[in-house]
Amino acid sequence: MRQIRVPLPNLWHEFGRVQDELLRMFGRPTNGPHQNLVPVGPAINIWEDDTTVFAETDLPGMNLDKLEVLVTDGDQLTIQGERQINVPTGVVWHRQERNFGQFMRQVTLPAIVDADKVEAKYDQGVLRITMPKSAAAMPKKITVQAG
């Protein structure tokens, strides 16, 4: 029987693939008595250094008029919007995999940020949000006094 080893980088690929399948759900109507769109959304990465919190998410093909980024209560980041796809008429579809429809994600940030200084840039289909931490959230060096 042939043994198949799955080294670590391949596992990431598998998780990504399963997550991609879950993400396909965005914008699909739920089956059930309430025919609403379930708001789910794209995957988000958040990282920080001493002065800033960064967030990034992949949103290819977005019309910026349909994208909204909000920072509320200092540490809640909301990314919501709708991705529309032009559906040309008179074509035969062979495959349809890309996500479209409404999405909404709300996440808690690791620190309170200064909402007035938040910058969001959309480049090559990637949304990157830079959020400087509020003065109170930055680490403060405390001098130790002897005696």
């Binding site: 990431w12 093909g61 062979h94 890309r98 090559q124 289909g125 990637v126």
Partner: protein, 131 residues
């Protein structure tokens, strides 16, 4: 057959020769494929890939896309839901395509590839003669 499947999967993991900060992860990009009378249209989601880091080849009826993603994440992660990595996908194209007229356009992370059919492959209307 088992052997062929494994080979194809490994072929999908291309370690690019360009130095990338990602951990060698290669994703399969999502694609929409449409066909009109005149051409095949591919829409590929390739977020984070610049045109200079995108490689498109059409050889022996197979279209292969390789995209390297520049990634820079200074600091420490707090929430990490996806691993940005390179992209690879290949398609077998069964229509007869005019290879010299293939056109590709990358905008906002979406790659549009137009593959025009050769004249012989376009549907032809047949006039019906009758009384």
């Amino acid at each position: 057959m088992a052997d062929t499947t494994i080979e194809r999967k490994e072929a999908g993991e291309i370690k690019s020769s360009v130095d990338t900060p990602d951990r060698g992860v290669t994703h399969t990009p999502r694609v929409d494929i449409l066909e009109t009378d005149d051409e095949l249209l591919l829409f590929v989601d390739l977020p984070g890939v610049h045109a200079k880091d995108l490689d498109i080849r059409f050889e022996n009826g197979e279209l292969a896309l390789t995209g390297r993603r520049a990634a820079h994440y200074p600091g420490k992660p707090w929430m990490w839901e996806f691993e940005p990595g390179s992209f690879y996908r290949a398609f077998r194209v069964t229509e007869q395509i005019a290879a010299d007229k293939i056109n590709a356009d990358l905008k906002n992370g979406v790659l549009t590839v137009r593959l025009p059919k050769v004249e012989a492959a376009k549907p032809r209307r047949i006039a019906v003669k009758g009384e």
